[in-house]
């Protein structure tokens, strides 16, 4: 069981470092990106896993993002970088990319295919994926940015 969480944390950390490199963080921020992403992603897995909590992915994402935000805010004075520098890359492995393009795929198929049932089927694909994607992103941002506003002084004085 713990092996699954360890693997999830490890691959989330690698994903966060790689995706963070696209947005040019300071070099000292990479390690914090990895730590934050590993903690957040494995925590979400723990919440959604059937054998433990079996929570819905949207709520689990909200709680995991809150954890990521809190860790990021308290690590930011140590790294002397704004919390977003590793907060956002740490959230990237949780971005519902597959839902996003499945929604677009469903929309494209609605336009390209004819027939009442086929349209309904693809519209369902579009609507469910679009709603899930939007709600997950919204929960991620609310969860991750709430600690920034709760601990405003710590988060906005990190680069001081």
């Amino acid at each position: 069981m713990w092996n699954i969480y360890f693997q999830d944390a490890l691959f989330a950390a690698i994903a966060a470092i790689g995706f963070a490199s696209i947005s040019k963080p300071p070099k000292r921020a990479y390690i914090y990106c990895a730590l934050t992403a590993a903690a957040g992603h494995s925590f979400r897995l723990m919440l959604t896993n059937g054998s433990t909590m079996h929570m819905h992915i949207t709520i689990a994402t909200l709680l995991a993002a809150f954890l990521i935000g809190t860790i990021a805010v308290f690590l930011s004075p140590l790294a002397k970088t704004p919390a977003e520098t590793y907060l956002f890359p740490a959230l990237l492995p949780m971005i519902p990319g597959i839902y996003a393009y499945k929604a677009f795929g469903g929309l494209a198929m609605c336009i390209l295919r004819n027939g009442h049932d086929i349209f309904n089927s693809y519209f369902y694909l579009f609507a469910t994926n679009a709603i899930t994607c939007t709600s997950i992103i919204l929960c991620m941002v609310i969860g991750a940015t709430t600690p920034i506003f709760i601990f405003k002084k710590t988060s906005f004085q990190a680069t001081r």
Binding site: S21, P26, P82, Y122
Partner: protein
């Protein structure tokens, strides 16, 4: 009667400060900072010099008015946001600069000099990033339960796609077209497992081969701006992200049609 204000050495006039803040805002917003950070940083610098400010943040422009406390005459500047790639390094260094000004560690002339240097010094190793991104996307594939073969396929597809993206954007190609082309190339390469029936999770390889293109930071920034009630910027950033997601989905669909693969 007109009065003349004499500014001490290191203390800028409203005109000078307005010009500085205008350039500072354009750089900070262009490198992907949220509106709330921009407001806080600009306010901090203005307070350090004892000036009052008011600002309007639009998606492509920033308007700043600066005036002396107790004086009605304001100086206004409008700057166009620099469309540069997202850079947390620039974001961090600009935030540090605002604190150094606020704490009196740097005078106005030094701050103005450093502003130009911050962007000039923002370089990145062009060989390391594609490898890191490819490893990241392969790890992503693993997070979606892809096997080792799928991870290798995604690694290759991402390496090719990301290098192509860097090349196209470097040549000044429109980023929407670049996203479409890179998504198409990555999805065609990602379909290798399906084409040759190798590995146990070929569809995961194809689905995750384009995920490195998902504009995650613009999505997050847009919702962050929305929470701070910067609705126009939030909507603009969200629409940018939607358009890019649409381009990558179109590229993926074309790749799937070419390889005769059904995923939807």
């Amino acid at each position: 009667m007109r009065t003349t204000t004499v500014y001490k050495c290191g203390s800028p006039s409203p005109q000078e400060l307005c010009r500085f803040l205008s350039e500072y805002s354009a750089l900070l917003l262009g490198c992907g900072a949220t509106c709330i950070r921009l407001e806080n940083n600009v306010q901090r610098i203005a307070e350090a010099y004892g000036k009052e400010i008011s600002m309007v943040i639009m998606p492509r422009h920033v308007q700043i008015s600066v005036w002396e406390k107790g004086n009605d005459e304001a100086v206004t500047a409008i700057s166009t946001v620099k469309s540069s790639p997202i850079s947390f390094n620039v974001n961090t260094r600009l935030s540090e600069l605002s604190w150094e000004v606020a704490d009196g560690k740097t005078d106005f002339n030094q701050a103005a000099e450093r502003l130009g240097k911050i962007v000039k010094d923002d370089r990145q190793d062009k060989w390391t990033v594609p490898v890191l991104v490819a490893l990241a996307n392969a790890s992503f594939c693993r997070l979606f339960s892809g096997d080792a073969v799928a991870m290798l396929t995604v690694l290759a597809a991402t390496l090719a796609g990301y290098s192509l993206k860097t090349f196209l954007l470097g040549r000044g190609t429109d980023n929407r077209l670049a996203f479409f082309i890179c998504s198409f190339v990555s999805s065609v390469l990602g379909a290798t497992d399906i084409l040759f029936a190798i590995g146990d999770t070929p569809t995961t390889a194809m689905a995750t081969s384009v995920l490195y293109l998902v504009p995650g930071i613009p999505y997050l920034n847009s919702f962050s701006d929305m929470l701070c009630r910067h609705y126009i910027c939030a909507f603009c950033r969200f629409m940018d992200a939607i358009v890019l997601t649409g381009c990558l989905s179109a590229g993926l669909c074309c790749g799937m049609l070419l390889m005769n693969v059904g995923m939807f």
